[in-house]
Symmetry: C2
């Protein structure tokens, strides 16, 4: 199983006008992305926000499903939400993975735009077989800032459909990207 | 472009105990699935519910983004939500597609379980090239009833990750299935 981790950033991200903001946490991001991560064998799902009230919100949602009524009502949801860790910054995420003895992961950022140095899905699928740890980073709101993209180790090609419309939700983008990287359709059981 | 339509059923679907119910409409289902449908060139996104209050809810959400404040704030959202049509029953959906002169579509249902007669993604991709109309049907809540699956023309293989966990959200399942059927990763631009 690849050593892949996922981070959903709420700061620093862009708003519609291109300004750097801290976005609010969306309940269904936690559920949908945790379920997709669990389905595709992602090791950890980091929710990154420095805002105290937003961190509290995530902890409350996760604990409802991990230990509260939700855990009895839907144990499968518990299994998925157990992948969630809340961190203040991306640096805290990298340190946490390192502390677990998995080394400092290479960061792979996602963006709706293409860059000269963007890597494709086939290449990243190959890289995932090298045993090193990778952190796949998604931005909320209008996406990750250019500065942020510049300092990442790798930028992943955007998901293209078969039209010019290029406005998937982050929940859809995460699902499709995990399927492209790890789905059985690409790696048939032998 | 394939002649593919999508229906999200809120009745008849199953609850956790396997009883047939009418489920509530989820706002983010409309947004995420409309955006994915627009990205992958799906012609129509039918939201199926016989409940008057739920139909009103869908119409209110859609009109906010099509003609209300939302249309000015985010015109890209408008383009996606314009794909939505609300219908009482699946029969009304089939009639609507027929009335648009596209013939009666073949129904292709999705399910988290596999059946002897399930078809794979590669076969369905080929079928989509034959120019006939197809309606891809997704259930909400705990999914479509067995009776319902039995009368469909085709059943599509479930989305498998690379684990035994098999509990994607309908939003994730739609996104992955459209990518598998229509994404450029499978049909590279030539």
């Amino acid at each position: 199983m690849p050593n892949l981790h996922l981070a959903l950033l709420h700061y620093p991200v862009l708003n519609k006008r291109g300004e750097t903001i801290a976005s609010a946490v969306t309940n269904l991001d936690l559920h949908d992305i945790a379920r997709a991560a669990k389905t595709f064998g992602v090791k950890t799902f980091y929710v990154v926000t420095p805002l105290e009230d937003q961190k509290d919100l995530v902890e409350r949602i996760v604990s409802h499903w991990k230990t509260g009524e939700g855990a009895l009502y839907n144990p499968k949801r518990k299994e998925a939400l157990e992948l969630i860790h809340v961190k203040d910054t991306l640096k805290d995420v990298l340190d946490h993975i390192h502390q677990k003895g998995m080394g400092f992961p290479k960061t792979v950022v996602t963006c709706a735009r293409s860059f000269g140095r963007s890597i494709g899905y086939e290449l990243f699928r190959e890289m995932l077989k090298d045993g090193r740890s990778y952190l796949l980073v998604f931005g909320t709101a209008w996406g990750l800032s250019e500065e942020f993209l510049n300092i990442a180790d790798f930028i992943l090609e955007p998901v293209k459909g078969n039209t010019d419309y290029n406005h998937l939700s982050v929940r859809s983008a995460v699902s499709i990207i995990l399927d492209r990287l790890l789905g059985r359709e690409y790696y048939p059981a032998t």
